[in-house]
Point group: D3
Chain length 171, copies 6
């Protein structure tokens, strides 16, 4: 299976926040944004592996500021690292200033998808080649995040999480 | 402000997976479940603090198995720890066997909400009193997860994350 | 088939009234509430009989007061009586005071569901055992309501409706 | 206030059952139909009184047969009787045969709406003039149904329900 | 195949503009109205040919004035001309004055549908008989519009568009 | 007001066809696609003029082939010409092959938006500078389409439609 660049998996969607999408404060409803990010991540994961993919996990979504009704919101998703059959995807969320048109990043999320066959069993996916500085950083961090998930789920001992230990032990 | 027990914030919702809620495999669409969890978490957070609350973060949602159309799904949300103005909420998701009625846990998620005033500024919330064994465990873990978020966001040095260091250094 | 208690069929759902759910007065749209009650009743009916169930009738839903946007609404459904293949379900609707958290009942509805096989034919369901005072009252009333429906539909003569006649004739 | 004929309040809507509207059996979801009937009834009530109206009650909806996906469904709503500030509306639901185009009645429902002012207080509505045989029958029955609701709600003694007593006592 | 009158294909739907249907100015969202018109046109086309129909084109929809939230909107669709397997449908949109009840036309659209078999192949449809003056005008215009579409799509030479040439050359 | 290039108004959205979006044949529902195109066109128009915009017209949408459930669909919208206060927008719709990832164009639509002030009155918008060959062609065609609309609406005499006459008279 031929490795692919991160850029090949880029998926972009631009949306308008309609009344239908708001919470009781008149801002974009958090649950709606989570759903939007899930869809665009799944499209990015699909573009990387060309398989049916299912959401495996959501990590570290942070909502730094409310997004008002009538905002134009752009979501950009890109695979940050591919493991055997799972892919980590970064979604960056931008809001556009209504007067200047300048895009400001307002959210970031990390989703994990798995490629599956007809019975829901995992299928191998191509490796990912990071190219830009940011892609490389995210690629590096993916391993630490994976170890962290395994530890939190009780499936790995802290002692075996080499990447993470470095972080805390100056290693 | 009077501290409250975890139990006082319990919020439960039971739902039927309708065609409207499915992905292209005929299972509950991940984005929809994320939205459902967001709503029930916000209700739990509100019950704890009686304030307007907004989603601040989503951490460690894992989708362990697909949930089929026509399933009866129950979400149970409870505050696991309260900080100055933020609250960590655990959502447990159960699916009910259609014949025996037995509930099986199939998902777990951790959301963070913040209590806000009219201008979106943070408001102090009551402390949380964990009572059961599980509530205590989740209460303890919340601090580690908070430190971890701060480190990942570059707002805390690994050296200052006392709780986390113990995990890796046998401390 | 073993009889079951009313409590075994209890189904609870707690919801937040989002802008998406409102009518043009900014209150919960009546049609949306009817749909919510339909779903939770069907879950209660399913829990009683463990069969596929379909809505057969809706009776006596009264909307006593508007439910405002941003309200937390709890619906509790419980089978009140089981006949051969049909089940009468009571849904109680509560709204929560945003400051005190006190729940106030604001609506009540009675739905009837029928258990069906693959061809839509009726299937026998277990008998219901009422336990509390309220459960017993609702159980008693169910027969009167059934006779009333049959009379209104022209399928029973008023003279044969023993339970109802008592009401009017001091019997 | 000038009385109006029943016909003046007629409201018709024709809909296509889309996948979005179905239950897990592939038929029109009962809750969706209840919402459709609520909207068309409110339009009929509005046409009668030209006021803002809110749902007050739903009585005697019976679902006689499932409505399949892709069906063309027509709802016809007409005020059957007007009281001081409330109006009883009948909704007849028809399904169209896909080959012959023949419409078959498959459901019937009775809704009650109240005309309200800006504070939610009741406003008087015009009287209704029934013209056809069916309109007259429904007009007559409306009083019995109103008395019945009051008795069931504990707001009228069975002895005072003249119309209903006749039904049971041969009066 | 027996020809049918335009009137036989008339399809009417009356709707209430709910918050759910609005754009960020509080008016009916254009995309929602386009979807409503698509459904009612497809019902009209189906009534004419009794076949499965799919949208082939949308032409000349003009939005002359915003439709406010809480408006009562009526859509009337009628086949204007039938070709071999395609049908042109006119949709007229009316808004009702909330006080006088007077209906004012506020939009008009022309949709084209095609009757298809199980494989998506075209099926012949009955001819249309226009009766009223308006029906005849729209019937005549349909040919010009069809030629225009073919020219714009590069499938017909302007010289062969007899009907259209008359318009410009006084022929 | 400074003129802008067509490219500056480009708006892209990528979507997954969910069961929720399908018609009764299991393909993307035409009305849903019309709504998607309306939103992305409005974003493109907004990017050009930085004003509140409303849909004025939809012209020449053709649905050349059904789009199946689970397809990845990309919509690209770009202003093709700006008049005093209106803008014509082209939307190109592409479907992605699930195996090769190759995008195939499957639909095209032309929408017109108008920039409006708080009272709904028109506001002047910047001129458009077409750059590529396709942008120039679409820019040229826009005038003919505008004349055509005016003629069809009875607001211009065929004799005054210079651009259109050339088409038919070999001019």
């Amino acid at each position: 299976m031929k490795a692919k660049t991160a850029k090949q998996s880029l998926a972009i969607t631009t949306k308008l926040v309609l009344p239908n999408d708001t919470n009781t404060l008149g801002n974009l409803f958090g649950g709606e944004l989570l759903a939007w990010m899930d869809v665009i991540s799944s499209i990015s994961a699909h573009r990387h592996c060309k398989r049916v993919v299912v959401t495996a996990a959501v990590n570290n979504v942070s909502f730094q500021q409310p997004i008002k009704e009538a905002s134009i919101v752009t979501l950009e998703a890109k695979v940050s690292r591919a493991f055997t059959s799972s892919m980590e995807i970064f979604v960056d969320v931008f809001v556009e200033d209504n007067v200047t048109g300048k895009k400001v990043k307002c959210n970031e999320a990390i989703y994990t998808f798995v490629a599956v066959d007809q019975n829901g069993g995992p299928i191998a996916v191509p490796k990912l080649i990071p190219e830009t500085e940011e892609e490389k950083q995210r690629y590096e961090g993916a391993l630490r995040r994976k170890q962290l998930s395994l530890i939190l789920a009780g499936k790995m001992k802290p002692d075996d999480a080499m990447e993470l230990k470095k972080l805390f032990m100056g290693g």
